[in-house]
């Protein structure tokens, strides 16, 4: 292993980055698959149902007690789902605009995964020159907002390319919804960065490193609340799932999609949820730091513990995402717009103003 450290620094950087990219991508994809399972299971429990508990590959027969328990939990369901998506006929309706129809799923899925690049998911693995973040950008959060905004193009394009009324309505709704909530979301984090004084997400985490009382969620609760609601709207989750709203728009923008192209939309949605959770953990819940504080890890195990801490915080937020889904009825379109433009944007402005005043008062 030490041989790596004798290489040219650039080569080292490329090698480490590659490993981190592969790891982050693989872990995110796994989380996407199991987020779907968690969604189905938690939804089932909330609705007094059982949820998926049948998928059982032959290997289960060789595991005496754990096997059946895993089957009951539906652990193998994501594999069955994935296999089904892969083997299904990739059907393209005759009336669609082909180029955009093929482009849209990729445009939805790719930005969702790209936001992961700037999120510091761990401290170090013992080597202080190798932080556990793929791209330690000094404009980290601007990059995230830029990339997240791209996600809406995939949905709008899908709505346009499908050349059919329900996807079209879904596309229109999503463009209006995502653009308006993005403003509220951006405004809400401005207050956070006014306090911290840096856009680099690693610095944001370092600022909150002192323990649970340093977390931004307690210093900027209003910002967190606005960010949370806007994140629901941005990821098309209930109560803001107007772009897909199964009960009124059939499936919304992905009505005409099937097999792997549909799976890409699905993966994009869940990857967005993961990205939003990761962003919230980083901005408001101290990122990878432990609730009792502590700096960067000095050993491999410490680094792994930090990553585990980050993932645990993220999972809690994911559960909140799923939990909230069964609480609210869907907003009406005009209520959604009203909430975004007339409540959250003024609230975010007020928050910025108050934060500025408090900061000015403290600095004097």
């Amino acid at each position: 292993m030490d041989a790596i450290y004798y290489l040219h620094p650039t080569t080292q950087f490329v090698l480490f980055s590659l490993v981190k990219i592969v790891l982050a991508f693989g872990i995110t994809l796994t989380f996407v698959a199991y987020a779907v399972l968690a969604e189905r299971k938690i939804s089932a429990w909330i609705q007094d149902r059982v949820g998926p508990n049948r998928a059982a590959p032959f290997i289960v027969n060789y595991l005496p007690f754990i096997g059946p328990a895993l089957v009951r939990l539906g652990i193998f369901q994501p594999m069955a789902d994935g296999l089904k998506f892969l083997l299904k006929e990739d059907f393209t309706p005759a009336y669609v605009r082909k180029v955009y129809f093929w482009l849209a799923p990729a445009l939805t899925a790719v930005p969702a995964f790209m936001t992961m690049a700037v999120i510091p998911f761990g401290s170090t693995m013992g080597n202080p020159n190798n932080p556990m973040v793929i791209a330690d950008l000094n404009v980290g959060v601007l990059y995230t907002f830029g990339i997240v905004s791209l996600g809406v193009y995939g949905i709008v394009l899908a709505g346009y390319a499908s050349n059919s009324k329900y996807p079209f309505l879904g596309g229109i709704r999503s463009s209006a919804q995502m653009i308006s909530y993005e403003i509220a979301m951006g405004m809400s984090v401005i207050a956070v960065f006014m306090v911290i004084g840096d856009l680099n997400l690693s610095k944001v985490v370092a600022y909150q490193g002192g323990g649970i009382h340093h977390w931004m969620v307690f210093k900027q609760p209003l910002a967190f609340f606005i960010f949370l609601v806007a994140a629901f709207a941005e990821t098309n989750r209930l109560p803001f799932d107007l772009p897909e709203s199964e009960s009124e728009l059939v499936g919304g923008y992905h009505t005409e999609y099937s097999s792997m192209k549909f799976a890409l939309f699905f993966m994009g949605e869940y990857a967005n949820m993961i990205a939003a959770s990761a962003m919230m953990v980083t901005l408001f819940f101290g990122g990878w730091t432990f609730p009792w504080g502590g700096g960067a890890a000095a050993s491999l195990w410490g680094g792994l513990a930090h990553i585990a801490c980050f993932i645990a915080k993220m999972l809690v937020l994911m559960v909140v995402f799923i939990w909230v889904r069964w609480m609210f009825p869907r907003f009406r379109y005009d209520q959604l717009m009203d909430l975004g433009w007339r409540r959250f944007i003024p609230l975010a402005f007020a928050n910025i103003l108050i934060t500025a005043l408090v900061l000015a008062a403290l600095n004097h």
Binding site: A44, I46, D48, R49, N53, W323
Partner: protein
């Protein structure tokens, strides 16, 4: 009479949605805890767990035996004639067929087939049977891997039907007739 429902305007706290958010979280949490931590979810996992149908449920028709274990059916074919979907097919013994199990019966069917794919569980066969030989019983879920498997023959129907020694239809008919006779008719 019109009842006017008083609709109070929402208070400031209610307009923030926060009380309803908390209420919603409580409701969903209650159900989550109920199905996960204690007790069972409502779902009945069908092939493993089945509904217990009440007594008198009209499921699939099976042939029954009398208290001596003899075939009650006398091959009169009334059920075959009345069966609306034509699910029953009876092969009579013919002039030189095997004698009936019962001493006081003239004959019994050589073969008695009910096509369960056709049967509509209407109960007319039970209604029409003069010998109380066929009854709708409590099976409601019949499965097979081929159409042939769901044509139940005499042997299978008798095995599934079991013994119905206690039912005495003619006795009840007689009682009914006597009641009719005894019923006071308004005479002028």
């Amino acid at each position: 009479m019109t009842k006017v429902v008083e609709r109070k305007p929402l208070s400031l706290l209610e307009r923030t949605y926060l009380p309803s958010v908390v209420g919603g979280l409580q409701v969903t949490w209650k159900h989550f805890a109920r199905s996960l931590l204690h007790g069972k979810p409502v779902t009945m996992e069908y092939p493993e767990e089945k509904w217990v149908v009440p007594e008198g449920y009209r499921g699939a028709p099976y042939l029954v035996k009398d208290q001596e274990g003899d075939t009650k059916c006398v091959s009169c074919q009334l059920c075959e004639f009345i069966c609306p979907p034509k699910a029953i097919r009876i092969t009579p013994p013919g002039p030189d067929g095997a004698p009936a199990d019962r001493a006081n019966a003239e004959k019994m069917p050589r073969e008695f087939e009910i096509n369960m794919l056709r049967c509509i569980f209407c109960g007319l066969c039970q209604e029409v049977c003069p010998e109380e030989a066929i009854f709708l019983q409590r099976d409601y879920s019949l499965t097979g891997t081929s159409r042939e498997q769901l044509v139940y023959n005499k042997e299978k129907l008798l095995a599934l039907g079991g013994v119905h020694g206690g039912i005495q239809k003619w006795k009840h008919k007689l009682e009914e007739a006597r009641e009719q006779e005894a019923f006071p008719v308004n005479q002028e």
